[in-house]
């Protein structure tokens, strides 16, 4: 995927900015005491405040503010010690008050940045314009009844962080990398679970196209795209549409569009046709949000190690390649798993096992790292058995598969199945003798100069020893006998 679209009369460049709505992890809502859990029965996690009953008033949840500040700190962003809440006024069935409480003029977090890594190994720093807190809306269900829409307000009032990027992204790949990196950072911080399927992270994509060197042209906003893949597809589809419009002599109108993943196209959103005039003004039910320096310092001190720092440390401390380190830090649990396995052991070997057999096993079993049948401790024990030569590498893979299947400890599997490596030279010599005696023709060929049959003999000896022979000793014994 390059950022260049070859039009009929020359190349076009994409200009992309993302507005990510990230649901804040908190027990209760931004301005009410109702629960935030996903998947509850309709309208059971709704207070009279969330349903905007007459006389109901918002009171802000301090933890949501803390989460926004933590996220701002994690994005290297400026924390605004005084911010304010505004009302964004518009009518919609799932917006009970007729306004959304948001931060328009004075967001809690100002400018920051995110470094993204691209497939070619390069990195790029993407500006974050701002982060602000706002309320989520409820949910409209349009497919339950022929003439009615149904409204569920469980989501109404849950805290969102709107994280706005600069229009620094130039390709769908960059947009994908930005989203994934942002999600990783949010998960590290514990401020958003990043679960796009459940809608706890949603992206609005601003796309425009231009000829190289031009100022920006009109952009369109593709609303509520709910996976990284769809974001990338939506960008490609929308950019292609705009190129087509411009090249056929038309003009791209600034509008809100929806992405249809089934058809791979964007379309104009009918319900948003009305001219927007949100009439933002300071919410008179709330007061200015004034942060305390010491409180912010405490949040800063409590931040976990973030992925960029962790990656650098994995390279420096553990000698991993930048690529391996990036793979391992993409998920906090994986990184922690790695650190447990690698502690006091060969870190590169640990990384190879995790990214190889271990990830393959997770894929195959459909498990996540949290409910994996093989714990980091058990995998470490397996590497110890390899290191002290209790087993050889080939047996280790067999033991690992048994660990996945049974959940038993590696030592237990080795003992119960008699997989201990054979280092007794007498036993190895005997096996070598038996193999050579059984294959006089191959022996003759080898002696006739067919050197590569050495490998055949190694294999046969290992087979005769049920795989348990120490590979170095087997090689040594064979070499001696064949050269004799």
């Amino acid at each position: 995927m390059s950022g260049v679209i070859e039009g009929r009369d020359g190349p076009w460049e994409m200009v992309i900015g993302l507005e990510v709505h990230a649901q804040v992890i908190s027990r209760s809502k931004l301005f009410s005491g109702s629960a935030t859990e996903f998947g509850a029965e309709p309208n059971t996690q709704v207070s009279l405040v969330d349903a905007a009953f007459p006389g109901m008033l918002p009171v802000i949840n301090g933890e949501c503010v803390a989460q926004a500040v933590r996220t701002g700190l994690g994005l290297d962003a400026h924390i605004n010690m005084v911010s304010r809440f505004d009302r964004k006024n518009y009518f919609y069935a799932d917006l009970p008050a007729g306004y959304q409480i948001s931060q328009y003029a004075h967001p809690v977090v100002g400018g920051g940045s995110i470094e993204i890594e691209l497939a070619d190994g390069s990195t790029k720093r993407i500006g974050v314009t701002r982060l602000h807190l706002e309320q989520d809306a409820g949910k409209s269900l349009h497919d339950q009844h022929p003439s009615k829409s149904f409204i569920d307000l469980n989501r109404s009032g849950i805290a969102l962080m709107e994280i706005v990027s600069e229009p620094d992204l130039r390709t769908a790949e960059e947009a994908g990398a930005y989203l994934r990196k942002l999600r990783t950072i949010l998960r590290y911080l514990g401020t958003c679970d990043g679960n796009m399927e459940e809608g706890s992270m949603r992206a609005d994509v601003n796309v425009s196209v231009r000829r190289h060197g031009e100022p920006f042209r009109t952009r369109c906003e593709v609303k509520n795209v709910n996976s990284v893949r769809f974001v990338m597809q939506a960008i490609e589809a929308e950019a292609a549409r705009q190129v087509e419009v411009w090249e056929s002599g038309g003009t791209v109108e600034q509008e809100t569009r929806l992405f249809d993943p089934a058809r791979g196209v964007t379309r104009s959103m009918r319900s948003k046709e009305d001219a927007h005039d949100y009439r933002y003004f300071p919410d008179p039910d709330l007061l200015p949000l004034v942060l305390d320096e010491g409180w912010v310092a405490g949040l800063r001190a409590g931040l976990p190690e973030l992925p960029d720092a962790k990656r650098a440390r994995f390279v420096a401390e553990h000698g991993l390649s930048a690529y391996d380190a990036a793979v391992l830090v993409a998920d906090q649990e994986t990184a922690a798993f790695f650190e447990t396995v690698a502690a006091g052991r060969d870190a590169k070997l640990a990384a190879n096992w995790i990214m190889g057999d271990f990830f393959a096993a997770l894929n195959r079993t459909g498990c996540s790292i949290g409910d994996s049948p093989v714990s980091a401790g058990a995998l470490g024990q397996l590497l110890d058995l390899l290191a002290d030569r209790t087993i050889n590498g080939r047996i280790a893979k067999e033991v690992f598969e048994a660990m996945v299947d049974t959940g038993e400890s590696p030592a237990g599997i080795v003992e119960s199945r008699g997989l201990r490596q054979v280092t007794d030279t007498g036993a190895i010599d005997g096996a070598v003798d038996r193999v050579l005696a059984a294959h006089p023709d191959k022996l003759a060929e080898y002696r006739g100069g067919k050197d590569k049959l050495f490998g055949f003999f190694v294999g046969q000896v290992m087979k005769a020893m049920a795989g348990k022979g120490n590979p170095a000793l087997v090689n040594e014994a064979l070499r001696q006998r064949l050269s004799a």
Binding site: A51, A52, F53, G55, F91, A93, P96, R279, Y280, D285
Partner: protein, 493 residues
């Protein structure tokens, strides 16, 4: 007659067991039954509930309980949500609304033992100065001009509350004030009423008009009764972010404080050539009473007074246009079906809101809309800052201010209806204190030449209601106002 007692007298009589709470409540329910068809002060009468509360109060009294308002029957402005009791805000759009919750202020009153007679009529969504905008019909002022039976307005928006108290249908009432809605009708009805400092009473559960201005307060026939009621209504509420975390002083005790040595400011901008001479004279009389009681009268300036009303008529409608967006026919209240969602909204709101509410929502929407925000709303907020500065500067020199409450006595129903601005001018003296959030009390001070009551307004420093009560009580003693309205309990129609 039990209905002629002040709230404090009724409280003392109950404690002495001179009469029972049930007798007291029945006397007021009788007055309501007799007078409400004419005065229309109540939208909803909760007689059965009131009787049950009174019976419970008698039981509590028998056990020796001593709560501040035990067994005292009150009217509740229909802007306060009351659990299980219809709450309309004077609007068709809320006609069927029964809240499943109790506002903090009314919950405080119930905690202290009060009996609720019913929900008092009011201008729709508290938007009005005459009670003519109520969807449940106008309220008649219990006072009439001498020799003239024409129905007068009680003022507004707390017109039902004030009329009920003036006509002795209730010992006191809750009210709310956004730009004068407690003080102006109290003045028109010859009773006392205080808008406390913004943040003194919780706004939780009160149907919002303009959130940065709305304040609940009591109306009653004496300053002390207002102090007793405010003592119960006020208090910190964590459910309201703008509620002040301050202890509630003994307001009733403050009514007995001397005004000797207090500096009372006379804002020179409140004088005007078109002020009726009777009102100017009443004002001077009030100043003389305070001087006689040992206060020092000081000339002060509130230079931005004349811009208060125009500022108010940007800020209040702007906030209202947003606060009233929730009346959309989806979750509560009246719905008018439409072809689609937007059509349903537009019909519901066109039919559910009365003309004045529609007008203010439109004004508010306009002044916040793209291209006009800076010219109107932002400028108004800056003028509001100047108005607050005026008061801050004045309170550096004086302890309280004295002004007339309203530029006129009660006017006839139907007057000033053709020109919204003429109606808005009723609040010219009350609005500046609302913009600044400072407390203001209206005290009945005398009658005009036609026999209608006139009130004086005492303004104080933020959270210094005690001085306001002290000054108000002194005026009340000096004025010795014992005139009675023509329409009242015990007088045959």
């Amino acid at each position: 007659m039990l209905t002629d007692l002040s709230l404090a007298e009724a409280r003392d009589g109950l404690r002495r067991r001179d009469f029972s709470a049930v007798e007291l409540t029945e006397a007021h329910l009788d007055a309501v039954a007799a007078l409400n068809p004419r005065i229309n002060a109540f939208i909803t009468v909760s007689a059965d509930k009131a009787r049950a509360q009174a019976a419970a109060a008698d039981a509590a009294l028998a056990k020796g309980e001593d709560r501040p308002l035990l067994g005292l029957p009150l009217a509740i402005k229909d802007l306060f949500c009351t659990d299980g009791l219809r709450t309309t805000a004077g609007s068709r759009i809320l006609e069927p609304f029964v809240p499943p919750y109790e506002s903090t202020v009314t919950a405080n009153l119930l905690r202290d033992g009060a009996v609720f007679l019913g929900k008092a009529n009011m201008d729709e969504f508290a938007m009005g100065s005459s009670n003519m905008t109520s969807a449940f019909g106008p309220v008649q002022n219990p006072w009439t001009r001498r020799g003239d039976n024409r129905a007068l307005v009680p003022g507004g928006s707390s017109g039902g509350s004030c009329a009920a108290v003036a006509a002795r249908m209730a010992l006191g009432a809750t009210a709310t004030d956004t730009g004068g809605s407690i003080r102006q009708p109290a003045s028109f009805c010859g009773i006392a009423g205080i808008k406390p400092t913004y943040g003194r009473c919780s706004r939780w559960g009160i149907v919002a008009f303009a959130s940065s201005l709305d304040q609940a307060g009591p109306v009653a026939r004496t300053v002390e009764d207002c102090a007793i009621l405010l003592g119960s209504m006020a208090g910190f509420d964590p459910k309201d972010s703008t509620s002040a975390d301050r202890a509630v002083p003994d307001f009733a005790a403050a009514c007995r404080r001397s005004v000797r040595g207090l500096r009372i400011g006379v804002p020179r901008e409140y004088h005007s050539d078109n002020m009726p001479p009777e009102i100017e004279a009443m004002w001077q009389q009030g100043l003389a009473w305070l001087r006689d009681a040992g206060a020092e009268i000081v000339d002060v300036s509130l230079p931005h007074t004349k811009y208060g009303l125009a500022t108010y008529y940007i800020v209040a409608p702007a906030e209202a246009s947003s606060n009233l967006a929730r009346y959309d026919g989806v979750r509560f209240g009246r719905r008018v079906e439409g072809e689609d969602l937007t059509d349903m909204y537009e019909k519901t709101r066109a039919e559910g809101f009365g003309a004045e509410v529609r007008r203010r929502v439109m004004i508010g929407t306009y002044v916040l809309s793209a291209g006009y925000y800076d010219a109107y709303y932002l400028r108004a907020q800056k003028v509001r800052a100047l108005i607050l500065r005026d008061f801050t500067d004045a309170y550096a020199q004086v302890d309280a201010l004295l002004t007339p409450t309203a530029p006129s006595a009660a006017f006839a129903q139907g007057d000033k209806m053709d020109d919204p601005v003429a109606m808005y001018l009723n609040d010219v003296f009350t609005v500046p204190a609302s913009m600044a959030g400072v407390p203001g009390l209206s005290v009945p001070a005398g009658l005009d030449g036609q026999g209608l009551p006139l009130g004086l307004q005492v303004l104080g420093r933020p959270f210094d209601e005690e001085t306001v009560f002290a000054v108000g009580a002194e005026l009340e003693r000096a004025a010795d106002f014992h005139h009675l309205p023509a329409i009242r309990a015990g007088v045959p129609a």
